[in-house]
């Protein structure tokens, strides 16, 4: 028992867990041929059958029930404000399954030369009263009942009266912003708190104008819009949901990492020996002091940024995004590439931190300009 818990605590560390999550993502939503082969060999499509769904859910419930036997786990998961996030995790898994379950049925039908299920149904018209009005009424009653039960069963949290001189450790933002707060581990506030939210929202708003694929409107499908769904799933599940879960469940005092079965020890120390890229280049590789001229000092970082945002989009357009580029045209593609690459800086920076302890690529604290 203790060994299992210890094992889970170990692999729950972001730098290990993230690899597991990314690998599962690549196999479940294969973006490249290589992973498609593994996907087929493992028979991943069985996940989206009814049996597969049952298996996923039984596993999740079992894991959760097992966790609940542990005091430390209960302490985090059953904290009133964390209950919605536990619910969210189950709901997200359920709805991902539901969408892909229907998508698979439709894709199979289309592969056989048929039409999606929604197509046959849409030929038939029904009256909104009573068909829809009753469904809405029932849905509304169920949610209302659920809310009342929840409200009676779980009192809303209220801590000590506000005291500006005593700050709790950890101080956490509301859960739906914890993805942003977790990004603070890797980026300064101006990026995690201002630039990224802006990019996320702009990116979301741009989706309809980026996606030139006219197939897949009005029915569940995976095969007809693979690229779009793969990209969306990466950001929505692998980054957003992952960061929220880590930030909520696995970050304790001083924003240190704590495994799900670990006691939140306020004295836990984590060695911080992060260095900036400029220090790595000049002091370790070139074995000399940092140049005093800021621009010269940060030249390596700027060079990387220029290549990354200036050159990389063009290279991608010639290679793995060739089809995409042909379909989108220059303007759409450029906007897409910049948004996409910006978002990718997050996982890149995560790996740089874990592998090389890099803190900043460009570090100009004189102007609060650290990337």
């Amino acid at each position: 028992m203790e060994t299992i818990k210890h094992f889970i605590n170990t692999i729950a560390a972001p730098k290990i867990l993230f690899n597991i999550v990314v690998l599962s993502y690549l196999i479940i939503f294969p973006p490249f041929k290589f992973f498609q082969k593994i996907h087929d060999a493992l028979g991943v499509r069985r996940l989206w059958t009814k049996k597969g769904g049952m298996a996923i859910f039984s596993l999740m419930f079992l894991a959760f029930a097992f966790g609940l036997t542990d005091g430390n786990f209960r302490l985090i998961v059953l904290k009133p404000d964390n209950v919605p996030i536990v619910a969210l995790l189950f709901l997200v898994v359920f709805f991902v399954w539901l969408a892909l379950h229907q998508a698979q049925d439709n894709d199979d039908a289309i592969a056989k030369g048929g039409k999606p299920k929604e197509w046959a149904e849409s030929r038939e018209k029904v009256l909104v009263f009573p068909d829809l009005v009753y469904i809405e009424f029932i849905a509304l009653m169920i949610v209302a009942a659920l809310l009342v039960v929840w409200a009676i069963g779980l009192p809303a949290p209220l801590e000590q009266a506000a005291n500006p001189t005593v700050s709790p450790n950890p101080s956490k933002a509301p859960w739906y912003f914890l993805g942003l707060q977790e990004m603070l581990v890797y980026f300064d506030p101006w990026i995690a708190g201002v630039v990224f939210p802006t990019v996320i929202l702009l990116g979301l708003m741009c989706i309809p104008y980026m996606d030139k694929n006219r197939k897949g409107l009005g029915y569940y499908t995976y095969q007809d819009r693979k690229t779009a769904i793969n990209i969306f799933m990466f950001f929505w599940l692998v980054l957003w949901m992952f960061l929220i879960s880590i930030g909520t469940f696995l970050r304790g005092p001083n924003w240190n990492f704590f495994g799900p079965f670990e006691y939140w020890d306020h004295n836990k120390l984590e060695a911080l020996n992060n260095i900036n890229l400029s220090e790595l280049v000049y002091m370790i590789w070139l074995n000399q002091g940092l140049p005093s001229n800021i621009l010269w000092r940060e030249a390596p970082g700027f060079l990387i940024l220029i290549v990354y945002f200036g050159l990389l989009p063009a290279i991608l357009a010639k290679t793995i995004f060739k089809d995409l580029y042909a379909r989108m045209g220059v303007v759409r593609y450029s906007i897409f590439a910049v948004l996409f690459l910006m978002a990718l800086t997050l996982p890149i920076k995560m790996y740089l931190r874990w592998l090389f302890n890099i803190k900043y690529i460009v570090a100009i604290p004189e102007f609060f300009f650290n990337i």
């Binding site: 809310l147 209220l158 201002v194």
Partner: protein
């Protein structure tokens, strides 16, 4: 029990009164196609819907009801929020005590619970609604712009939740908002801890200072204090609900104008 099937029941008698017929204009017994259509057309609320829909669109497994539930939760939050406003005074002196009283003094004091859990739930349903709209490709033409409006609704939902978080004025509240608003202080150019904060200046006078930056504008002060509480209260109870309602109206209108719920062609 009605012995004679032809004898009208109490309910049927009531339905033929002048009063009932003045309220529900469609008539006594809804049996015909035409009447079912008239029910939709005669009601201002039901009239948000079309009269007839393709069958796939009324299936729960297609829309998951998530948009409708988000709207329903918004209504629940409005009603419970108004009830909470009867008891709550947005000053440092009273806020915390008023919230404590809500559960201890007020009969059937679960309004705060319903409001808080309902708010969490609304964030969840809005996210899931967005996910289903994505998965059915419903943002594709002609519905591009309604997706954009949807993203605005998403932001507003989260801002409503965020501003409400401060109002109980407990440790959880002020420190969560402190974490959140510190980020505003890092806004490029406009935040005093943001890159380029010293670029905006007239001569030697720097325009972005601790008492004039983005964070100050949000909080009405240098810390999360009295002014911030009032600002968040006004935004939470008046400002943001007003704006989100306008966007919702446009959102619903556009669903109809864009050809109703999406479907395969």
């Amino acid at each position: 029990m009605n012995a004679n099937p032809n004898k009208p029941s109490m309910w049927e008698k009531f339905q033929s009164t002048q009063f009932y017929r003045s309220v529900f204009r469609t008539g006594i017994r809804v049996v015909s196609h035409r009447q079912r259509m008239m029910i939709m057309l005669n009601s201002v609320f039901l009239h948000l819907h079309p009269v007839r829909l393709p069958k796939h669109a009324v299936k729960v497994r297609y829309t998951w009801c998530m948009g409708g539930l988000s709207f329903f939760l918004f209504l629940v939050l409005t009603v419970t929020g108004i009830l909470l406003m009867f008891y709550y005074r947005p000053t440092i002196e009273y806020a915390y005590g008023d919230v404590t009283d809500l559960s201890q003094q007020v009969p059937l004091g679960i309004m705060r619970e319903i409001h808080r859990w309902g708010a969490h739930l609304m964030v969840i349903t809005v996210w899931l609604h967005m996910f289903r709209v994505f998965m059915t490709g419903s943002y594709k033409p002609p519905r591009e712009f309604n997706w954009v409006i949807g993203v605005v609704l998403l932001v507003l939902t989260m801002l409503l939740s965020f501003t409400g978080y401060l109002l109980p004025w407990d440790q959880l509240a002020i420190w969560a908002i402190t974490v959140g608003s510190n980020m505003a202080g890092a806004t490029p150019l406009l935040g005093m801890n943001g890159p380029g904060s010293n670029l905006l200046s007239i001569g030697d006078v720097n325009l972005v200072t601790p008492v004039s930056d983005a964070r100050f504008a949000l909080l009405g002060g240098r810390f999360v204090g009295e002014a911030a509480l009032l600002r968040f209260y006004v935004l939470h109870c008046i400002g943001l609900p007003f704006i989100i309602m306008i966007f919702m109206i446009v959102h619903f209108w556009r669903i109809r104008k864009d050809g109703g719920i999406s479907g395969p062609t």
